[in-house]
């Protein structure tokens, strides 16, 4: 049975994110992912607030990156969070995004190696007394905690490209696939499965999640309208091969990217077509969303993550998902 996760961007005061998180727990979501961008509220402060006000929902950063936060600090943060929400903490690690890293003066150096080494360091910090690690990107020298982590923490690897997807299958307890279209998810799951097989694991050992841009409303037009800003950013950041897969004009994508960089939001959003919305989001009425999720399930995903924008009104959208969508997959 598929499980449902939800993503929140901590761009608003902590109490609003926590309010929605409590609602999500009450309404049957199993996983809560908080995005990690330095320009929003801090991910671990937000997660701490959520952990203190929830009881059951699994929660963690979705995703953090090893460049801006050193792996030992990530290990420390999740181990500490696990004292508040013991057994509920999950950790999403990805390579980050180039634009955000660039604004902090950091380069995305050897992303595959960085993610692989980060996962290894975090795991070893959780289970060993002293960690000495000689990697190509990271090194530790007798690093140790002065406290004992309570439990192991499942690590999800955020992935999009073919090599990262396979790596995620090999080393992750879970994989966060950044896509919502059956073509992309199908491709991604196949790459992940190869990685799982290479590692000699069973497919059921790894929780494969489709981490989608999602928008639901009883009125399809309103759902689509809410998805436009997020889709604009997804299109602007998508490699040509992905744009071609969906028949999206690369020139138009470049124009969107240029408009976003120039802060011309109206121009950027005005260029978003219905084809782009269909390709890069799960969007529409509850029945339309059910149909899309059912298609994604055929690829072999085990978790469906409802990501931004969720809908025009987050509170009502959570209720709508809980009342109309989740029960359909519990049958």
């Amino acid at each position: 049975m598929v499980r449902f996760g939800i993503e929140f961007v901590p761009s608003e005061p902590y109490w609003k994110t926590t309010f929605y998180a409590i609602q999500a727990e009450k309404r049957g979501f199993d996983y809560l992912w908080i995005t990690d961008h330095f320009n929003n509220r801090n991910v671990y402060v937000t997660l701490t607030a959520v952990a203190l006000h929830t009881e059951k929902i699994n929660l963690g950063p979705g995703v953090t990156n090893p460049y801006l936060i050193n792996p030992v600090v990530t290990a420390q943060a999740v181990a500490s969070l696990n004292e508040i929400a013991t057994g509920r903490v999950i950790l999403g690690i990805g390579a980050g995004d180039k634009t955000t890293l660039k604004s902090t003066g950091l380069e995305m150096h050897k992303p595959l190696t960085a993610v692989k080494e980060c996962v290894e360091i975090v795991r070893r910090m959780m289970s060993e007394k002293n960690v000495t690690f000689e990697g190509n990107v990271f090194k530790t020298n007798n690093a140790k905690f002065f406290f004992k982590p309570a439990t192991e923490i499942p690590i999800y690897v955020g992935a999009q490209g073919p090599k990262m997807l396979a790596l995620a299958g090999r080393i992750g307890d879970g994989v966060l696939i950044n896509a919502g279209h059956p073509k992309d998810v199908d491709y991604a799951v196949n790459r992940v499965k190869k990685g799982i097989q290479q590692a000699g694991k069973r497919l059921t050992d790894v929780d494969i999640a489709a981490y989608t841009s999602f928008s639901v409303h009883e009125d399809m037009e309103k759902a689509a309208q809410a998805a436009v800003p997020v889709v604009a950013y997804v299109v602007a950041g998508s490699p040509d091969v992905v744009l071609q897969r969906h028949g999206v004009d690369e020139g138009k994508a470049e124009k969107i990217s240029g408009a976003l960089k120039a802060g011309k939001w109206g121009a950027a959003f005005g260029l978003v077509s219905s084809r782009m919305i269909e390709a890069f989001s799960v969007c529409g009425t509850p029945d339309m969303c059910i149909e899309r999720i059912a298609e994604l399930l055929k690829s072999g995903i085990s978790q469906f993550v409802v990501g931004s924008p969720i809908g025009t009104n987050v509170r009502k959208s959570i209720d709508l998902i809980s009342d109309r969508i989740i029960p359909h997959f519990e049958k």
Binding site: P13, K16, T54
Partner: protein
């Protein structure tokens, strides 16, 4: 002390709301608060109280509505009074809130 006094005032106001209208009022206040552009004006102690109650109840009981009302008046004073008068048809409650303000 001041907040305690305010809570007492709001609690008395909530008692004026007929039980049949409390759920609708709760939903309206939640939406006013969540949609507010003044979210940063929410006092941290009130935010903690609101989250504490939301975790434990659907915010339709007297304590929950009292907290919601206090928050809504801080974040969206005019819109709250307007909603009470026009959408919820509770002019006496709106008048009592103006007196507290």
């Amino acid at each position: 002390m001041l907040r305690k006094a305010i809570v007492m005032d709001y609690h008395r106001i909530v008692e004026m709301v007929p039980s049949g209208k409390r759920e609708k009022l709760s939903t309206k206040l939640i939406d006013l608060i969540l949609k507010s552009k003044n979210a940063d004006k929410m006092p941290s102690s009130l935010a903690r109280a609101l989250l504490h109650q939301w975790q434990r109840s659907p915010l339709t009981n007297e304590i929950g509505i009292t907290t919601l009302l206090e928050a809504a008046v801080i974040l969206e004073s005019e819109k709250t009074i307007e909603a009470l008068e026009e959408k919820l048809q509770l002019p006496d409650v709106a008048k009592a809130i103006r007196a507290v303000e």
